[in-house]
């Protein structure tokens, strides 16, 4: 039931950079992420969207081996060029992978940077630790070059500055410079632009996309913002209640969604479509807390199309090599025009 092409692990295409299979994350018997599987190829930019409690960040943290204390991942996460499974790998092994094969950018740049260390040294450090530069002098020169690549004016001076001397957007660019320093095979970004102003967000998105394109890195981009994913990624996976509910090429998923949740999400985020009274389409109810989603289809308690059959778990229905959905009452395929937003009769105060 893995939402990925039906090829055995051995037959995985040699272009796959990341292959996640049957990933579960559990805490005290409660499943927060269930049976998640996907692959990302070199140079491919894939978005993972979902609301709070959907498990999108836990999926990213499992890939990075950074799950908080008490949470357990099971299943398999394989990265090209790394001889072992990332699930269950000890910290010594993961610290050799992190910052080299996998790099990450999180939402809050200030917590990712060391406030007492000059920015240039922080970038040089990641090059020296992984021995990708032979000595301090060349690592320093590379750090200045990276700061120039992320568009900081006067990179020489920036390298000598401390994190607090930068604005939020500039700090995020420093974090991106660190992440890209070792030309990672996979860049994981978790809400990297959520805390930024729109003009700064545009800048950072552009730098992320260019950074991974120049290196042919795979990108896993996590956000709640549909428009950001559609702008930055080629493929999108929709997560709800700890499961992947739909995936496919950005254009296909956002113009012809199949899962009722995806359809509702697109309708609710489109602020240009209103009913006769000027009201927006909504999804009724609210997102349950993590681990408290209904059994069977996780969306059924908020879905206007749910029937008795939805109490059993819907199968993943593949619609292409990287696309599919898990819904008993999908939006009818093709023929429909527009965004497939819910009709306005479905809109309500909730």
């Amino acid at each position: 039931m893995t939402p990925a092409p039906e090829t055995g692990p051995a037959a995985a295409a040699h272009d796959d950079v990341l292959a996640v299979r049957n990933l579960d994350v559990t805490v005290g018997g409660r499943k927060l992420v269930e049976d998640v599987g996907f692959t990302i190829r070199a140079g491919e930019r894939v978005g993972l969207i979902g609301e709070s409690g959907s498990g999108k960040s836990l999926t990213a943290l499992s890939v990075l081996g950074l799950l908080p204390e008490g949470l357990r991942a099971s299943g398999s996460v394989r990265l090209a060029g790394v001889g072992h499974d990332l699930v269950g790998a000890d910290e010594a092994r993961m610290s050799r992978v992190r910052g080299k094969e996998i790099a990450m950018v999180f939402q809050e740049p200030m917590t990712a940077l060391n406030p007492t260390m000059r920015v240039g040294r922080q970038i040089a450090e990641v090059l020296l630790i992984h021995r990708t530069r032979p000595d301090r002098a060349s690592a320093r020169a590379a750090a200045v070059e990276l700061l120039a690549q992320v568009g900081l004016p006067d990179p020489e001076a920036a390298a000598r500055a401390y994190p607090h001397q930068f604005s939020g957007g500039q700090r995020q660019r420093v974090v991106l410079a660190i992440a890209l320093a070792n030309d990672p095979a996979l860049l994981v970004c978790d809400e990297p632009t959520t805390a930024l102003d729109v003009t700064v967000q545009a800048r950072v998105l552009d730098l992320i996309v260019r950074g991974v394109q120049d290196r042919r890195s795979a990108l896993l981009f996590i956000t709640h913002d549909l428009a950001v994913v559609a702008t930055a990624c080629e493929r999108v996976m929709v997560m709800y209640g700890g499961r992947l509910v739909e995936s496919g090429p950005v254009h296909e998923v956002f113009t012809h969604p199949r899962h009722r949740y995806t359809q509702g999400l697109i309708g609710a985020s489109d602020l240009t479509v209103v009913d006769g009274r000027g009201r927006l389409a909504t999804i009724r109810g609210s997102v349950p807390p993590a681990g408290r989603f209904p059994a069977g289809c996780v969306f059924r308690n908020r879905c206007d199309h749910a029937t008795d059959v939805c109490a059993t778990r819907p199968k993943w229905i593949p619609t292409g090599p990287d696309s599919g959905y898990a819904c008993f009452h999908p939006v009818p395929g093709s023929g429909a025009h527009g965004t497939g937003a819910p009709t306005n009769q479905e809109a309500g105060r909730g």
Binding site: E51, V198, L205, L226, A230, T231, V250, H251, T282, V287
Partner: protein
């Protein structure tokens, strides 16, 4: 600072009149940063540099701008929570500049605030019923239980929510609680500071619809502050774009979005990612171009 006689408004365009729910006349606000050097004081921060506009009764007025543009300072001054360095603010034609707190009672009744983060603006140790009733207590109204039940129902919560605590609710429900609290003293003006920015997409639409319903039913004047231009476009009739302590452009939302005059407004609109733009091929590089 004493009440100042009305000086002639310096900014040309905004029309302000006595009928306006809120009128802002040439407001400036200068902050002094703490010293960082022994030799000289820090340079002053000009948070607002001559802001003027009027909001007629019943209008939905949007204020957009990026962090540091002065929109929060402006909002605090409009609500009588801070004082301008110069200039004045009138609510329903009554000047509030320089009034003592106890003479601001009419402002607290007429104008109520809804904040971005409902977790930090709701006291976690108070029951929801007491939170919603608090403005009524402060203003000495009686018969509170009934009013609380009525308010909770108006925002789409069950009456038994009154006996529970804020942490027992989801983000969207908490924002409904803050809206109920704001409505308690029957205000005519609601000032909402990023009220949906912290909410999930599927819940954001519900709360925006709720705000629209209440503004219609209760004939409220709405001031809606946001960094999100798409939300302001949906909610508001008129919009003011702020940049570096000044209003660089005002107009009807349609006009400002369709035909922005100021270069900053154009840049701001160009940088907003939308699903429609993305699906017609606008890339991250394009957003960053202007």
């Amino acid at each position: 600072m004493a009440e100042q006689p009305t000086s002639t408004p310096l900014a040309p365009e905004p029309r302000t009149g006595p009928a306006d729910a809120i009128s802002v006349r040439d407001v400036t606000r200068v902050y002094q940063r703490p010293r960082t050097s022994l030799r000289r004081p820090s340079p002053p921060v000009h948070a607002l540099r001559g802001v003027s506009f009027g909001i007629p009764q019943g209008q939905r007025f949007g204020i957009v701008g990026e962090s540091g543009c002065g929109k929060s300072t402006l909002l605090r001054i409009m609500a009588g929570l801070d004082r301008p360095t110069s200039g004045g603010v009138a609510i329903d034609g009554r000047d509030i500049t320089g009034l003592r707190e106890r003479r601001l009672k009419f402002v607290r009744e007429r104008l109520q605030l809804v904040f971005q983060d409902p977790m930090s603006s709701l006291d976690p140790r108070m029951r929801v019923g007491d939170i919603v009733a608090e403005p009524l207590v402060a203003q000495g109204h009686g018969n509170r239980r009934e009013r609380v039940a009525e308010l909770l129902e108006a925002v789409g919560l069950r009456a038994d929510a009154a006996d529970r605590y804020p942490h027992q609710f989801s983000g969207g429900q908490r924002q409904r609680i803050s809206i109920a609290r704001a409505l308690a003293p029957r205000p005519k003006i609601i000032v909402a500071d990023e009220p949906v920015s912290a909410l999930d997409v599927s819940v954001r639409a519900q709360v925006l619809n709720l705000i629209a319903d209440l503004v219609d039913e209760l004939s409220l004047t709405l001031v809606f502050v946001s960094h999100d231009l798409s939300v302001v476009r949906h909610v508001c009739d008129r919009v003011a774009v702020m940049h570096a302590g000044q209003i660089v452009e005002t107009g009807s939302t349609e006009q400002v979005y369709e035909d922005p005059r100021h270069s900053y407004t154009r840049r701001l609109i160009a940088a907003v990612p939308t699903l429609g733009k993305a699906l017609s091929g606008v890339s991250a590089a394009d957003l960053n171009r202007e």
